[in-house]
């Protein structure tokens, strides 16, 4: 998985070119070419929508192989809060974390605990009066990427604080170092609900290098965990569960909003809903908000594309678990605050805009191309059928002016042209050279030639 840019990729053999995915991609990043889907890397935000929608399971998320654990001397698993919601509610979380450890790790550090820290850091950040309101949460990497690609002007609204995953990675690493391991011998692995997190580990935004070495998806390790759960020995249990409900609740949408304690807060989930809300932010409509929690998946991370449990059931479970572990922060708030003031929670690198290519670098030529595009669009049937391999007629028109497609890719236009051609051929077939001598006119008595 090292050499790829995106976790989400295509299994060419399974892809049937059915066009289901192209219509559901929120950034119109997919085209079907030569009977196979192709993902435009500059547009994909790794949201996983296409993984969910593909009826042939041809969209896949690359994660690590459990064998990579052998590359390190000390391995730490950092499970996302959503992980807790995937199993039977009767299972004690500490037992669950011990089962996770048993599949090949030396220690487990909860991202939920880091989420508590991040909640405290964000609450303090929101008190700043020189921030650009409304502040947008930075925990979902698909949203960060969406903003980079589609809403670059909103980058300044993103809260420049590391995600709970990165903070957990940092804390886990510090723990390993304390035990006497060299940094390079410590392997930190995220147990992920989604491909977006995998990409953000490989291509981190806001930090030079991720604190995390790799990721395993919940789906990937699920059955291993189930096996371990039945063989776990209560006497050998280590105390791994430390977090409170304030961190655990981050796994569902609305959780961040709940744990962060400042001002007017809004929570939005589902990538299409998030796009609508960001459009409104762009138009200055939500300036009265202090904080907007945005999550690409419906229901939050419990609805991630790499989870097992039904998202609605997972939500209820996680809410109950969070209640069980209480509202009181498990971490030392003063310590977090002191670290926050030292700048330890802040992103170290700028988030760079990655806007879509303009139609042309030169404004005058871009305008010409736009006019051309509108003309093409007028000629297209407007059915948005997707048979051309683009998600809708507008996108095809754009592809044509950008030189990636042609008008005849539209099957309706192709059919029209074939019809025209057929008519011409029929007409042609009726015109017979005079030398061949036709009898009919004579029979009808309309022969004026002699």
């Amino acid at each position: 998985m090292r050499d790829i840019y995106h976790s989400v990729t295509l299994d060419k053999d399974k892809c049937r070119g059915c066009t289901n995915c192209i219509k559901n991609c929120p950034t119109e990043a997919i085209r079907v070419r030569g009977g196979k889907a192709a993902i435009l890397k500059s547009k994909c935000i790794d949201c996983g929508e296409c993984i969910r929608i593909c009826p042939h399971h041809a969209k896949i998320a690359s994660t690590d192989d459990l064998k990579t654990l052998s590359n390190y001397k000390y391995n730490i698993a950092i499970p996302a809060p959503a992980f807790y919601s995937q199993f039977s509610e009767d299972i004690d979380i500490n037992i669950l974390l011990n089962a996770l450890k048993a599949i090949g790790f030396d220690y487990v550090y909860e991202v939920a605990e880091a989420a508590e820290r991040v909640s405290i850091a964000i609450t303090n950040y929101l008190k700043k009066n020189d921030r650009t309101a409304p502040s947008i949460s930075s925990s979902c990497p698909a949203i960060i990427r969406l903003i980079q690609v589609r809403f670059p002007e909103l980058i300044e609204n993103i809260i420049p604080i590391n995600s709970p995953m990165e903070i957990a990675g940092k804390k886990a690493r510090e723990y390993g170092v304390q035990l006497g391991y060299r940094d390079k011998d410590i392997g930190v692995f995220f147990i992920t609900p989604c491909p977006a997190k995998v990409t953000s580990i490989l291509r981190p935004v806001g930090v030079k290098k991720s604190y995390i070495n790799g990721a395993f998806s919940i789906t990937q390790i699920y059955s291993e965990i189930i096996k371990k759960l039945s063989s776990i020995n209560e006497a050998d249990l280590e105390n791994l569960q430390k977090s409170s409900g304030q961190g655990i609740i981050w796994g569902v949408s609305g959780g961040e909003k709940h744990a962060v304690d400042y001002g007017n807060r809004l929570s939005v989930d589902g990538i299409h809903n998030v796009i609508n809300v960001l459009e409104e932010v762009e138009m200055g409509k939500l300036n009265n908000m202090d904080y907007i929690e945005c999550q690409a998946c419906i229901g939050g991370c419990i609805g991630g594309a790499l989870t097992v449990e039904n998202r609605f059931i997972a939500r209820i479970k996680l809410e109950r678990i969070a209640r069980r572990y209480g509202q009181k922060f498990s971490v030392d708030c003063d310590e977090v605050l002191a670290d926050y003031k030292k700048g330890e929670y802040f992103l170290k690198e700028e988030i760079k805009p990655k806007p879509i290519q303009p139609l042309d670098k030169n404004l005058g030529r871009a305008v010409e191309k736009m006019k051309h595009m509108e003309k093409i669009l007028e000629d297209l049937p407007g059915l948005d059928c997707g048979a051309c391999g683009a998600p809708n007629c507008q996108a095809l028109a754009e592809d044509i002016v950008r030189g990636y497609a042609q008008e005849l890719d539209c099957i309706i236009i192709l059919k029209e042209r074939v019809n025209e051609l057929a008519e011409k051929m029929v007409a042609l077939s009726k015109t017979v050279p005079p030398a061949m001598g036709i009898k009919e006119p004579e029979e009808e008595g309309t022969n004026n030639w002699d």
Binding site: E153, P358, K361, L363, A366
Partner: protein, 161 residues
């Protein structure tokens, strides 16, 4: 006719072209119907996505987005009908909103932050903070507003690249 001058260096209609040296490139025009909240904001959304395709700088786009949205919403909320036009030139974008409606009796007052005649019902929908006109002005390099009571209102906004 009442008119309002922005305190930024501002020019009257007859002189304004002197400041607009950049060649005109294209325009977009949208009909806006008063009271129609269903499609409110659509024109501004389209303007925004077109400007993105043209590769206009995003800080400019943000200002255009806010300015066009506020003008659009003022037509929807306060007037009967109108048009929103956007002109793209080499060095600036001009937004012109013209409406048929009640007009603004006291433009000076309407320009003040927090002044609004919006009904309780409109406020419940999240509008009517009285920030639209002041925000438009903040976003623009040139701002003009003319209102004829009983006839309508005209707003012109110029944003330079």
């Amino acid at each position: 006719m009442k008119s309002y001058k922005s305190d930024k260096k501002y020019l009257y209609a007859d002189r304004k072209d002197k400041n607009h040296k950049g060649k005109f490139l294209m325009s977009m025009r949208f009909d806006i119907s008063g009271g129609n909240l269903d499609s409110a904001g659509e024109a501004s959304s389209t303007i925004k996505s077109k400007l993105k395709q043209l590769g206009i700088g995003y800080s400019i786009i943000r200002r255009v987005a806010i300015a066009s949205y506020e003008t659009e919403m003022n037509i929807v909320l306060h007037a009967n009908r109108g048009t929103l036009s956007v002109y793209v030139a080499e060095d600036h974008i001009k937004i012109i909103a013209v409406d048929e409606g009640p007009g603004i009796p006291n433009v000076e007052l309407a320009m003040q932050e927090g002044y609004s005649t919006a009904t309780e019902q409109i406020r419940e929908m999240g509008f009517g903070a009285g920030m639209g006109l002041p925000n438009m002005k903040k976003c623009s390099d040139q701002f003009e507003i003319h209102s004829d009571i009983g006839k309508g209102t005209k707003v012109m906004i110029v944003i330079f690249f």
